[in-house]
């Protein structure tokens, strides 16, 4: 009996220790980020977040250009990715027969497994030349806005936004398709019985019913795009400046860390990059948290 009990105890202790390791690692992560960004935090304080200069030579560091670039590219990614993703999710959930829907979803989910650096590769050598070729068209249609003004050299926030949108689409599609399929049949039947067309049923009833879960998928996609590093740094142009035009190059938080960290000298420079990491960490925690709340609440709603 004693031997049996100690076997259980050992298993309990070992597995508990591993579970505790997660907590310890996460706490350590936050601690290290905080500790190693002490120098710039004390020097710049909160103004770090709103300063737009980034000059390693003079020792002036501000996060604003990177926050701007991160927000703009992720915003563009959502702008392009949401209609495409939700549209495809509707097709896969409502229109395609089961076998085709499953096969296509399988393929789309494989897109999520493609490494970021591969998207970057295609970004540099396929997307950027394609956008350069399309520039006259884009300028023709949209050149009147400040968003599409100024010179265009291919690497730009536009390119980064487009690459990011392709990378986040599988997440939007996968989750949205599930929540749309979970909408009870009676909802659709209710609308059809009133004489609604298939599209009216889907848009007026099914999507609103699934809206919380779809929002959750969008937040999740946003969280992913905020942290994307390689694909962005390969096509964004790596210019730490704020430009209004999407044709202009830019920089994101993740991209500048990737490019400058290995060569950063001095506590202030390195610390500023680490502080950027802390900012990114905070951003993704908040967005991910919101995403989970939204997706969780749909599973409760569907069950009722």
């Amino acid at each position: 009996m004693h031997r049996l009990r100690s076997g259980d105890d050992i298993a309990y202790v070992i597995t508990l220790t591993c579970a505790l390791t997660i907590l310890a690692l996460t706490a350590l992560l936050v601690f290290e980020l905080y500790k190693n960004s002490a120098v710039p935090r004390h020097q710049f304080g909160w103004s770090f977040l709103v300063t737009s200069t980034w000059d390693p030579v003079t020792g002036e560091f501000g996060a604003l250009p990177f926050i701007y670039g991160t927000v703009v590219t992720s915003g563009l990614a959502l702008f392009l990715g949401i209609p495409l993703g939700v549209g495809a999710a509707i097709f896969l959930a409502e229109l395609a027969p089961a076998k085709i829907s499953n096969a296509l979803t399988f393929l789309i989910e494989l897109l999520a497994a493609v490494p970021s650096v591969i998207f970057g590769l295609l970004g540099i050598f396929v997307l950027v030349p394609a956008l350069i070729a399309l520039e006259p068209v884009i300028r023709g249609v949209l050149g009147w806005t400040p968003l599409f003004s100024g010179p265009f050299y291919g690497v730009s926030m536009l390119s980064a936004g487009v690459v990011l949108s392709v990378m986040i689409i599988p997440f939007i599609i996968s989750i949205s398709r599930e929540v749309i399929r979970a909408v009870p049949t009676e909802q659709r039947e209710g609308a059809l019985a009133l004489g609604a067309t298939k599209w009216e049923t889907t848009w007026d009833v099914v999507i609103p019913f699934a809206r919380t879960g779809i929002m959750g998928s969008i937040f999740l996609a946003l969280a992913r795009s905020l942290g994307e590093t390689m694909a962005v740094t390969m096509v964004i142009g790596n210019d730490p400046a704020i430009h209004a035009s999407l044709f202009a190059p830019g920089y994101s938080i993740a991209a500048v860390i990737a490019n400058e960290f290995a060569e950063a000298t001095g506590d202030l420079y390195l610390g500023s990059l680490i502080e950027l990491g802390l900012v990114l960490f905070g951003l993704t925690i908040i967005i991910n948290g919101l995403a989970r709340v939204l997706v969780l609440s749909t599973t409760k709603k569907g069950a009722s």
Partner: protein
């Protein structure tokens, strides 16, 4: 052997001639107009045949009930009347169904469903406010213009005997209503497009007796303006509300007649067995 004793609910007096409806025979009782008629209707789910040669009439401004044990095909038949089965992939229908003499399979399905509405077994209000639920049908049909919508919603809610209970919270979510209220909301929503026929698929099966009674009262009131077909697993309900009753068994229409005949003097043994509770 006891015949069930509920009083016939309708004011249609007993015809001097009782006429058992054979499957192939169509004889209209005097004075009745045919609203919907089915002739030799067969229904298949893939290789399984769910309905065999159904032929019957639904009479205008009357309440017609379909009864029978579970799986007998009564709901399946109901759903052919507004072509709701078309949402299922390998469902196939052959035979004829006429609405006011028109072939429903040749009509535009959305137009058909505007004229033949449906209320389902469990209330299914949309994730919108009470007002928007009712207004949905008229809005998409464009049949009522902007300012008229408010009056139209009120009128539909009054017809469904729900107006007084919700008039102060029209813009609250429909999910805040009780089960019985939600079902009356669904009835109001169906009525809002002014259907000529209303199909009710076991509308009270998820409701308590008080809510059920309210809906049965509603059926009496609606009958004057709307032809009603109701599927029910509750025989007493059929006996209470219906003018005509059809008894289904294993995909066949065994007998169709005035409700009083079905319950007091059924022509077929199977009907009698079901009525007296020998099975089902």
């Amino acid at each position: 052997m006891q015949a069930p004793s509920p009083q016939p609910a309708s004011d249609v007096t007993m015809r001097s001639q009782t006429f058992p409806m054979q499957m192939a025979e169509e004889k209209k009782p005097a004075g009745e107009l045919s609203k919907l008629s089915a002739t030799n209707l067969n229904f298949h789910y893939g290789t399984f045949q769910a309905l065999h040669g159904i032929s019957m009439q639904v009479y205008d401004k009357r309440v017609t009930a379909f009864i029978g044990p579970s799986g007998c095909g009564k709901s399946t038949f109901l759903r052919t009347l507004n072509r709701m089965y078309e949402t299922i992939r390998n469902a196939r229908v052959d035979g004829e169904i006429l609405l006011d003499g028109e072939d429903i399979f040749k009509l535009e399905v959305s137009a058909l469903r505007r004229r033949v509405g449906m209320v389902f077994q469990r209330p299914n209000p949309f994730p919108k406010s009470i007002f928007d639920n009712i207004a949905y049908g008229p809005r998409i049909n464009g049949s009522v213009s902007g300012s008229g919508i408010k009056d139209h919603v009120e009128q539909s809610l009054r017809r469904a005997a729900l107006w007084d209970e919700v008039k102060d919270k029209l813009h609250d979510s429909a999910y805040g209503l009780s089960g019985g209220q939600q079902q009356r909301l669904c009835i109001a929503r169906a009525l809002a497009v002014n259907p000529e026929v209303l199909l009710l698929d076991e509308p009270c099966s998820s409701l308590d007796p008080i809510a059920t009674a309210k809906i049965e009262d509603l059926i009496f009131q609606l009958k004057d303006s709307c032809t009603i077909v109701i599927v029910t697993h509750n025989m007493q309900q059929a006996a209470r509300v219906a003018d005509f009753t059809g008894f289904f068994l294993m995909g066949k229409l065994i007998e169709f007649d005035n409700t009083t005949v079905i319950f007091k003097n059924p022509a077929k043994k199977e009907t009698e067995d079901y009525i007296t509770g020998r099975f089902g």
